[in-house]
């Protein structure tokens, strides 16, 4: 498959680019592969060959990769197609699982190690704040899956009655504020007694989580939302 695709709007990636080059340019893109359930190894194949092998839209993959690599990247509406809706919902569901099963517990485990070096008050307060933060995010995901994704599933099966972008008024600013706050509070209250390597690893985890959640919100706001709008216009 060598379908010609305009890449002028897509960061610096092209369908002909080797997967190796893509990952080398931004190793954090590896998390996209696991969320899209893409099989390893990649060998020497290109983006378009990998997408063909795995049954993914090349354009959608490149938009996701571009949004992940550059948080200021916004997909152009003219490149969004209604048939991408099912695939993007699968990606977002997989992202929710990735946070719930991997990133949030992994960060919690590191926090526990750090808390062993804190006084009793800081231990209980910071643990409680992180637990509440985790629960808030999980509740937000559940609400999205129940109130948005399930309706979009219905749209994909032909029920376009309720499919419109007003569905998508879930607040993401709260999550960003809380992610920022947990990072600030942990940064400012890291116990000096804890080994430096442990403190640095903790901060790397907390900032990675915050930044990844921001990218996730961007995908929902600037990719999913306009796609829903396009879908509802084409089925009206």
């Amino acid at each position: 498959m060598n379908k010609k695709i305009s890449t002028a709007h897509l960061a610096s990636f092209s369908p002909e680019m080797k997967i190796f080059e893509l990952v080398e340019s931004s190793p954090s893109l590896l998390s996209i592969f696991s969320r899209l359930n893409i099989r390893l190894p990649f060998g020497d194949i290109s983006i378009s060959e990998m997408c063909e092998r795995e049954g993914h839209s090349v354009e959608l993959f490149m938009m996701l990769a571009s949004m992940h690599a550059d948080t200021s990247f916004r997909p152009s509406k003219e490149h969004l197609k209604p048939e991408m809706l099912g695939e993007i919902i699968e990606y977002l569901r997989a992202s929710h699982r990735y946070y719930a099963e991997h990133m949030l517990p992994h960060t919690a485990a590191h926090l526990e190690k750090i808390l062993q070096h804190c006084d009793t008050l800081s231990q209980s307060v910071l643990r409680r704040f992180y637990d509440d933060y985790t629960q808030y995010i999980i509740d937000h995901f559940n609400e999205e899956e129940r109130n948005i994704f399930s309706i979009i599933d219905g749209c994909a099966e032909g029920d376009a009655r309720e499919c419109n972008c007003n569905l998508f008024d879930m607040p993401h600013a709260d999550i960003d504020d809380r992610s920022n706050d947990i990072a600030s509070l942990i940064f400012k209250n890291l116990p000096e007694e804890a080994p430096t390597s442990l403190r640095c690893t903790m901060l790397e985890h907390i900032y990675a989580l915050r930044d990844d959640l921001r990218r996730h919100s961007n995908v929902e706001m600037y990719l999913l939302r306009p796609l829903i709008e396009i879908y509802s216009n084409t089925t009206r």
Binding site: S72, L121, L126, F129, D174, D177, N180, D181, S184, L185
Partner: protein, 190 residues
């Protein structure tokens, strides 16, 4: 590149959506929301989530009455003829005929202008800011804090903005934890 957070305030939906579409595409700006009235953005200003406001010049009375906007540049959106001296009160203005490139540039440049009333360089909370923080942690609303401390709600918002700036913490839950860890309130509050 830092992206400036923009709040758009205009009751004309088409105008507001148009400006939002232009600024959302720009790598220099990020639209935090579209609002119909200035009063609706006071809480997000207090939370430190706005760097610049684009507002209809028709709302200049409300803009001038909003103390918390003293620290935030405001770009006037001029969609009808209005007195020149009113236009001059804004940090910059755009019109329905301003090109998309110029809208991006003007709003970003306004965000980069130094504000008239800079926040104190000190990162220590003042006594008054500490009073406000304690009441925020105890769950008081801005109105209730104003009444308790005998100050105006606008002054409360200014204090809250300084608290966010100095602590780097935006949510009420986060500020409560900050207050507990700094022994300003009892841990039983959380």
């Amino acid at each position: 590149m830092k992206r400036h957070k923009v709040a758009i305030v205009d009751s004309a939906t088409v105008v507001a959506e148009g400006i939002a579409a232009i600024l959302s595409r720009s790598p220099r700006t990020e639209v935090v929301g579209i609002y119909r009235h200035i009063a609706e953005i006071e809480s997000i200003i207090a939370a430190g989530r706005v760097d610049v406001v684009v507002a209809s010049v028709a709302q200049y009375h409300e803009i001038e009455a909003t103390t918390s906007l003293n620290n935030i540049p405001v770009v006037g959106m001029q969609s009808s003829l209005i007195e020149e001296d009113i236009v001059r009160r804004f940090n910059a203005t755009i019109t329905l005929y301003t090109s998309a490139e110029d809208v991006e540039r003007i709003v970003a440049e306004a965000a980069e202008q130094p504000s008239e009333h800079n926040i104190s360089e000190s990162h220590e909370l003042s006594d008054r800011e500490r009073d406000v923080l304690v009441l925020v942690a105890r769950g008081f609303t801005n109105k209730e804090i104003a009444s308790e401390l005998n100050i105006s709600p606008h002054t409360v918002i200014s204090h809250r903005k300084n608290i966010v700036h100095k602590t780097g913490i935006r949510s009420v839950a986060g500020l409560t934890v900050y207050a507990v860890l700094n022994k300003l309130v009892d841990s039983e509050l959380i």
